[in-house]
């Protein structure tokens, strides 16, 4: 298993470099210009000068090479300096965002907590809700509970978050006034009352996202349980006189979890990617909102760095899913 993991990690390097190149070229060829959000009152010569200051007059390969150097050499050095108080990165130009004129990685680090809090807890909550629902729906297939569960997951799956989000704001913020409609990113949890405030402002976005996640995962769980319920080993277990509880929870559930765990692991990178629409609706201003505003502003260094980080996470969690598969199911061996 270890050699498999190492082999996969080594193989990931050329893959990621290729991904970086493709993203860079795609962004470069895409229409749009970083000067578009500057007012028309700025004269054309000045715009040209501003473009030059961003390095846009350099050829593509120079800009790509520079980004690679900054991302793989300068940024790690900055991390080392930060951890050990050294000064290796002094005087080296970092990846600078065109919109903010400040280092891209600093902004990402700044945005990460909101996204992890909101999207991460929504994901966990979604999983925690989905698994019991999936189990009960499968065990009592076609019961009232199953029908309701199916209906809710259909709703969660098919109604877009920009609709549920605004609907919840109108009901709970505008009419009832229970929850704020705008997320306060500066809130520090120091005592019970600020914790309560944090819970209140997270309630709506987490609910919207959890509904969506739970809908998806509960369907997988139910399907996987149903597949296993008809297996021979289940009949054997029942024939041996085991009570239904043990059959379902010890035998069926364990086997059914294998594909579900894979699905859950593959979904983790999307947590870091943020929920672009939901973040926008509730003004959470996490990584998703960062990405979308960067795309709108044609802030290439920011978009390039963010999408590349997402690519790394996806490659990584694919590997994690494969390894987990091997651990959960002894029949699967890679070596």
């Amino acid at each position: 298993m270890l050699t498999f993991t190492i082999r996969r990690l080594v193989l990931a390097i050329p893959t990621l470099l290729f991904i970086a190149l493709v993203i860079f070229l795609l962004l470069d060829m895409a229409p749009g210009d970083p000067m578009a959000d500057q007012p028309l009152t700025i004269p054309p010569e000045v715009r040209e000068e501003m473009r030059r200051a961003l390095g846009l007059d350099q050829p593509v390969y120079v800009r790509f090479g520079l980004w690679l150097y900054q991302f793989f050499v300068v940024e790690p050095l900055v991390v080392i300096d930060h951890l050990f108080g050294t000064a290796y990165s002094a005087g080296q130009a970092r990846v600078i965002s065109w919109q903010f004129k400040s280092p891209v990685m600093d902004i990402i680090v700044q945005r990460l907590p909101q996204t992890l809090w909101v999207v991460g807890s929504a994901y966990m909550l979604g999983v925690l809700i989905a698994i019991p629902i999936g189990i009960v729906s499968a065990v009592r297939q076609y019961s009232v509970f199953d029908q309701i569960g199916t209906f809710i997951s259909m709703v969660g799956f098919s109604v877009p978050t920009f609709f549920t989000g605004v609907l919840l704001i109108v009901i709970f913020s505008v009419n009832l006034g229970w929850f704020p409609s705008i997320y306060d990113t500066q809130l520090r949890v120091t005592d019970w009352s600020s914790f309560g405030q944090q819970v209140r402002q997270m309630a709506l976005p987490v609910f919207v996202l959890a509904l969506f996640n739970a809908a998806q995962i509960s369907r997988y769980m139910r399907a996987s349980m149903l597949d296993n319920m008809t297996q021979d080993y289940v009949r054997t277990a029942r024939a041996k006189g085991m009570d239904e509880r043990t059959v379902v929870l010890r035998h069926v559930l364990r086997n059914s979890m294998i594909p579900v765990v894979t699905v859950i692991a593959l979904g983790v990178p999307s947590v870091f990617g943020g929920a672009i629409i939901t973040e926008q609706v509730f003004k959470v201003n996490g990584l998703g909102a960062l990405l979308i505003t960067a795309i709108n502003a044609n802030d290439l260094p920011m978009v390039q760095t963010l999408t590349f980080i997402f690519a790394v996470l996806i490659v990584l969690f694919n590997l994690v899913a494969d390894v987990l598969y091997g651990i959960l199911d002894p029949r699967i061996r890679y070596d």
Binding site: G32, A36, Q38, V46, L54, Q99, F100, I169, T185
Partner: protein
């Protein structure tokens, strides 16, 4: 007697409460919540000309003079406005001398000197800087400190309107000490200075999260000890205009929401919730249709399309352009798109009053009959019965009409297409993503500069109150073409020696009456007389503030938050 006493009592009470509202103490009104749905990226107007960034900078950085809400120039950091009368402007119009107010200090306590002003000029004009406000210093050959409080700006040529550099929110004074190492290409690396500038304004930055939220606190060294009334400001960004309007008008979570361009009925229904009120004011922003005087036909080889080498087959005919203008019902456009916050106009320069041509007749004229007559006169009739007019040479009145992707603009396109087709044009519509349309990328065929269409629609404005550089865009040498890499502001490709002669006169005279006459003549030449630019709507600025917020004076001539030092909480 009793009634009289009671009235006196009421009067004195009213007087007292008014006096109370004015005599504020710094920081007594707690926190102010401002919401900008376009989030702020940077607090340095020299690195980003984006309106949102200039607005937020106005809390910290200040210019020598500002425009107030009536477009009057008022001294800000300067003692008075230099003029010919007080000797601040040289007789030959080649220099202007500003004197700083006595005793002004930066937020860190150090004094503001003429050297800071000189440095600001050096900073913006440094090689490799890409300064967004370089246009403010056009024609400036030198800025020098005469003494600690006096600074002289010298121009290369006589400049009848010298109040441009260091005037208005776009070109504030920055601290030389803080930005000393940020000259030229190093400007972008100075994150600390660009996000936490030390200023002279009523507030200073305590925390800056780019594109998210900025926290300000009252500047302890602000020159008026009683101001600002608010101790802290939370400046949140993100979302969209509808959500921002909701947060101010319906939920009351925020005190001020900026730039709420929403359908008139949506805004009205939100205002009915009773938490806040909408404020709007008119400036110089005009939604217009630009007519291409050159031929954009795709049959022409690349590099010759939309260039002066090929005049437009029918849009060069004055009657055709006038017919296009006459067929538009501007009042309907206003009702559909802007409501109270727009008004019909034909002008390119809709304000200030001294420069505004009388366009009332043109703006109200909706006369398809007359438009059709004009087309007949120009020799265009529908001979083959397909609903599209053609002339004797078989030239069909078929046009491509482009604009940026935007709900209001697409509504306008649909309406105008219908009106034009009624009088015998064939109109094809196209909309381009704003990032491309306004991006000015010479490689893209879809920019406003390349103008690969017969007519195009967008809005433009000019900074401050002086339209000189705005009107100076319509000269032969400012035509975008392959030779100048498609840079230039003369989208219509106007090239007329008569216009340029008039413009030269306008640029050379300092006499206000003469300037006013010439500006009107230049504006009328482009619009009412020749319909090269078809003005549609004079667009106002719309914002909203909470009912508990006092002191807001919406200003379209400078930063909207220009007088935030005077804002205060009203007791309900």
């Amino acid at each position: 007697m009793r009634v009289k006493t009671a009235l006196l009592g009421v009067a004195s009470l009213a007087f007292a409460s008014q006096a109370m509202a004015q005599s504020t103490t710094r920081g007594e009104d707690g926190n102010l919540n401002i919401l900008f749905w376009q989030a702020v990226s940077i607090l340095n107007p020299y690195l980003s000309g984006g309106t949102k960034d200039v607005e937020a900078s106005a809390l910290v950085l200040e210019p020598l003079a500002r425009y107030d809400e009536n477009a009057t120039l008022i001294p800000w950091l300067a003692e008075e406005i230099p003029s010919l009368e007080n000797g601040g402007v040289a007789e030959d119009l080649t220099s202007i001398t500003w004197t700083l107010k006595e005793g002004i200090v930066w937020a860190d306590g150090s004094p503001v000197t003429a050297n800071d002003v000189v440095f600001t000029w050096q900073y913006c004009t440094a090689e490799g800087m890409g300064c967004a406000q370089e246009g403010k210093f056009e024609g400036v050959t030198n800025v020098e400190a005469v003494d600690d409080r006096t600074v002289r700006i010298t121009f290369g040529a006589p400049t009848p309107f010298p109040w441009v550099a260091f005037v208005g929110g776009q070109s504030p004074i920055i601290q030389a000490a803080q930005f000393a190492d940020c000259l030229g290409a190093a400007a972008a690396q100075c994150t600390e200075a660009n996000t936490k500038p030390i200023g002279t304004g009523p507030f200073q930055v305590t925390e800056f999260l780019p594109n998210d939220v900025i926290s300000f606190e009252a500047n302890p060294n602000y020159r008026d000890p009683a101001k600002p009334a608010f101790a802290t400001v939370t400046f949140k960004g993100g979302g969209d205009a509808a959500a921002a309007a909701r947060a101010v008008l319906e939920t009351g979570e925020f005190d001020y929401g900026w730039n709420l361009l929403l359908a008139p009925d949506v805004l009205a229904s939100m205002e009915a919730a009773g938490q806040g009120q909408i404020v709007s004011a008119f400036g110089t922003n005009v939604e217009r249709i630009e007519v291409n005087l050159t031929n954009p036909s795709p049959d022409l080889p690349e590099g010759e399309r939309s260039t002066v080498a090929h005049p437009h087959p029918f849009l060069t005919i004055p009657e055709v352009r006038e017919a296009l203008s006459l067929a538009i019902d501007r009042q309907t456009l206003v009702d559909v798109g802007y409501g109270e916050t727009g008004r019909p106009t034909c002008n390119l320069v809709p304000a200030p009053e001294i420069y505004k041509s009388d366009d009332a007749e043109c703006a109200a004229a909706y006369d398809p009959e007359r438009a059709m007559q004009l087309l007949e006169q120009a020799g265009f009739t529908d001979t083959d019965g397909d609903g599209v007019r053609e002339n004797a040479d078989g030239l069909r009145l078929s046009m491509l009409y482009q604009t940026s992707t935007n709900r209001v603009r697409q509504d306008f396109q649909a309406l105008i297409k219908e009106w034009w087709e009624e009088i015998g044009f064939e109109v094809e519509l196209r909309n381009v993503d704003a990032a491309v349309y306004f991006g000015g990328d010479p490689a893209s065929p879809d920019t406003i500069e390349k103008f690969y269409a017969d007519v195009e629609m967008y809005a433009n404005t000019f900074e401050g109150t002086d339209p000189t550089s705005y009107l100076a865009a319509y000269t032969c040498d400012k035509i975008p073409s392959p030779e100048n890499n498609w840079q230039g502001q003369n989208m219509n490709r106007v090239c007329d020696p008569a216009y340029e002669e008039m413009l030269a006169q306008f640029q050379g005279t300092a006499d206000q009456e003469e300037r006013s006459r010439l500006a009107k003549a230049l504006n009328s030449y482009l619009t009412i007389e020749n319909h090269i630019i078809i003005g549609l709507v004079d667009r106002g600025r719309v914002s909203a503030h909470s009912n508990t917020l006092g002191g807001v004076r919406l200003n379209t001539w400078d930063a909207e938050l220009w007088n935030i030092a005077d804002w205060h909480r009203l007791d309900n």
